[in-house]
């Protein structure tokens, strides 16, 4: 049994991406007759748990999943600091496929925790590498959610060697709809760019406040900047979204977009496109490429490879085997972990994309991003 513990009621979009990614991989496995482990064939059964974005609930879910004999647990990351030890006692691997927070994954202290998602640490470093040479005075803003605070810590570390490039640091109240006072202060600080680490609602509020006062400051964000929520919130002002830049994991490899497009076709054939709920200036409906479902999908495939490699369903053996196997990811890149690294998305795979007309494309002024094609986002 494969447990999926996600915030169905706390963050339905995130829950859906993970659930669908896992489901697609398991369906594919079932169509092929299951996974051969030793001399036996097994099918993976998926059991869904709702953690409500609550660590306490995640602990309960983990206990139940372990009791039910889960061979692995796939999660957005909620409660992992509290759940990993429970799972480790039984040798059960936990896979995080959304939250990139630093500290969640450590192969030495948390040997059963794996992650396939861009890391906050990597994103912060890539932003420092990308923005500092531009000579901008950057306002580092973060909201007071756990996500925002952890991101702020990574940003502080990444920009610590170049304090002159930072115009100000500021904490924003998560969930606030009016941030005009804070944005005015940021403008007065001399900031020529804002790097906003927070929930989608915070990013939408920052854009609203800046554009309302006519401040066309470039805004940079972590992957939450691509969340459909922002475009939905700003649907009446699509020009406010224009120029918004976010960092995330690349969806295509150097082999080209074909592998990802194939995955996207399968995904849409099964679940339909993830509609953003807005249209571009030509009236075409905008869809969200299945980036985060790809991570869950890839983890299940790695798990299948590990089961085969281990020749056993003993979780300890499966966990060890996860350090030894490689599969081709949905984007065409190889996906793997190893003894020293339980991150399935390496820092080098983090790229930058910029919005225009409600869809985004890789930027052209970053070496990696400039090599990547644009993924079609209209239907």
């Amino acid at each position: 049994m494969l447990a999926v513990d996600v915030p169905v009621t706390g963050s339905p979009y995130v829950a859906q991406t993970i659930r669908n990614g896992v489901g697609l991989a398991v369906d594919r496995l079932d169509r092929g007759g299951g996974v051969t482990v030793g001399s036996r064939k097994y099918k993976l059964k998926v059991k869904l748990y709702d953690n409500h974005l609550s660590a306490r609930r995640a602990v309960e879910d983990t206990r139940e999943a372990l009791k039910a004999g889960a061979v692995a647990i796939v999660t957005d990351g909620t409660g992992v600091p509290a759940t990993w030890q429970l799972a480790e006692k039984k040798g059960v691997p936990i896979a995080i496929t959304y939250d990139g927070a630093t500290g969640l994954v450590n192969p030495v202290t948390r040997p059963n925790v794996f992650r396939i998602a861009p890391t906050s640490h990597g994103i912060a470093l890539r932003y420092a590498e990308y923005l500092i040479p531009k000579g901008m005075k950057i306002g580092l803003l973060h909201d007071d959610s756990a996500y925002g605070q952890e991101g702020a810590s990574d940003l502080d570390s990444a920009f610590s060697e170049n304090p002159r490039s930072v115009a100000l640091r500021m904490t924003l109240p998560a969930g606030a709809t009016d941030l005009s006072a804070q944005i005015l202060r940021a403008r007065r600080s001399g900031a020529t760019a804002l790097l906003v680490w927070g929930q989608p609602s915070t990013i939408a509020a920052v854009l609203t406040a800046a554009r309302t006062i006519g401040w066309q400051v470039p805004v940079y964000t972590p992957p939450t900047g691509s969340d459909p929520f922002i475009r939905q919130r700003l649907a009446d002002h699509p020009d406010w979204v224009d120029g918004l830049t976010f960092a995330s994991g690349r969806m295509t490899a150097e082999v080209g977009p074909a592998p990802f497009q194939s995955f996207e076709s399968q995904y849409e054939a099964t679940y339909g496109p993830d509609k953003v709920g807005v249209r571009n200036s030509h009236g075409q409906g905008v869809v969200q490429p299945p980036e985060f479902p790809m991570y869950s999908y890839d983890f299940v495939n790695l798990l299948i490879a590990a089961l085969t490699h281990a020749g056993s369903v003993d979780p300890h053996k499966v966990q060890a085997a996860l350090n030894q196997v490689t599969t081709q990811g949905a984007n065409g890149d190889d996906r793997s972990f190893n003894v020293h690294n339980h991150e399935g998305v390496i820092d080098d795979d983090i790229y930058f994309a910029r919005f225009h007309d409600m869809t985004y494309a890789p930027v052209t002024d970053d070496p990696l991003s400039s090599t990547l094609p644009k993924i079609k986002q209209t239907r």
């Binding site: 030495v108 490899a253 150097e254 060890a320 350090n323 030894q324 490689t326 890149d333 190889d334 793997s336 190893n338 003894v339 020293h340 690294n341 390496i346 820092d347 080098d348 795979d349 070496p367 990696l368 090599t371």
Partner: protein, 385 residues
């Protein structure tokens, strides 16, 4: 003026070749591929592990490899610990993904690395994106026992009373095949000159062939990688005995050094694959082309010299990659540093990678030793620089 004095055997061979010249010239010709740049005469080095490596991906990228192989030897000269500091420089823009095989116990990023290496059973993994140039550097601990036989020299340390003897033996000799037959002197001289240029410039041999007329015979031979050996043997309280010698390239394949005194002997040795110089020196002229015009050099002698030189250069090139360079066409350089260590550290269990203090200590000892050699002999830090 230095003159070539043919031996009885070479005179006979020359007579045979000359006697058959007219007849051979009427024979159909055939081209024989000369040794180099590959294949190598043995599978290792580079050393390998016990698992198949995953597919590599290096489209449009080049990789240069520089390695410092740190060999810890016990009081008898036996290799008991092995670390490799490998520095790969990726050039070009694009994705890379490859594994370096070997009996790997542990790996850590080395100073200057722009990425973190991964570790799997018998593999060091690298994956990422090169924006144009990227440095990947790793300190790699290997199990010494399975790969000690692929090291370029064997050391023997012995004591007789207050006399300590260190013997260093070039252990790279490997079988090869050479050809005999009739080939034009001028062609052979040209090939010897191009081989010499490659050797002296330190570049890898280019593929080449010789044109033979008439019957061609293959004969078994053997060739070593010429090795430049610089080091010292010391005893507590005594002055170190320093030495520097090339083993091979027509010179003896071993050397013996003696020191007098009591206490534990310390050996510090730097070994690097060397070019073929002596065997490719044209007799009495600046080039082989000039030499054959000036002297009557038997074609059989030229042919033999061509094969034995190229076989040695191939073998020397092979020892430039103790660990594999993922780019088969990349420039690879290795330096081997041998130093006595107090005790053989216990191998670190694969599953327990968080420990390894013994190995860390060994690395420190060896690095300190490298520094000493560098200070004494002006040896550069990285093999390639």
């Amino acid at each position: 003026m230095r003159r070539l004095v043919p031996t009885g055997a070479s005179l006979a061979a020359a007579a045979l070749v000359l006697g058959g010249t007219a007849a051979a010239a009427r024979q159909p010709t055939q081209q024989i591929v000369l040794p180099g740049p590959v294949p190598y005469p043995t599978v290792s080095p580079p050393v390998t592990g016990n698992v198949a490596l995953p597919r590599s991906y290096l489209l449009r990228l080049g990789i240069a490899s520089a390695q410092r192989v740190l060999v810890g030897v016990d009081g008898t000269g036996r290799a008991v610990a092995l670390h490799v500091q490998q520095r790969l420089v990726v050039s070009g823009k694009g994705d890379y993904q490859f594994a370096i095989g070997g009996p790997v116990v542990d790996v850590r990023a080395a100073p200057g690395s722009e990425s973190e290496p991964g570790l799997r059973t018998d593999q060091v993994l690298w994956a990422g994106f090169s924006p144009g140039r990227k440095v990947l550097a790793a300190d790699i601990t290997l199990r010494a026992a399975p790969v000690a036989r692929y090291l370029p020299v064997r050391l023997h340390i012995g004591r007789d009373g207050d006399r300590v003897t260190l013997t260093v033996v070039n252990a790279t000799r490997a079988p090869g095949v050479a050809y005999t037959g009739f080939a034009r002197t001028a062609d052979l001289a040209t090939l010897l000159d191009s081989t010499r240029r490659a050797s002296l410039s330190g570049s890898r041999l280019q593929a080449a062939f010789a044109t033979f007329s008439g019957t061609v015979h293959a004969r078994k031979t053997a060739a070593e990688a010429p090795l430049r050996v610089v080091g010292e043997l010391s005893l507590p309280g005594g002055r170190p005995v320093r030495f520097a010698r090339t083993l091979g390239d027509g010179a003896p394949l071993s050397l013996t050094v003696r020191a007098h005194g009591t206490g534990e002997p310390k050996v510090l040795l730097r070994v690097s694959p060397a070019p073929v110089v002596r065997l490719l020196r044209p007799p009495g002229a600046a080039t082989w082309t000039a030499a054959v015009l000036k002297h009557s050099l038997p074609p059989a002698f030229l042919l033999r010299r061509l094969f034995e030189s190229r076989l040695r250069l191939v073998r020397a090139d092979q020892y430039q990659s103790f660990l594999a360079d993922p780019d088969a066409d990349g420039v690879s350089r290795s330096v081997y540093v041998y130093a006595t260590v107090k005790a053989a550290p216990a191998p670190v269990a694969e599953a327990d990678t968080s420990t390894g203090g013994g190995n860390d200590i060994l690395v420190i000892v060896l690095v300190a030793a490298v520094s000493l050699v560098a200070a004494a002999g002006g040896i550069v830090v990285w093999a390639h620089s």
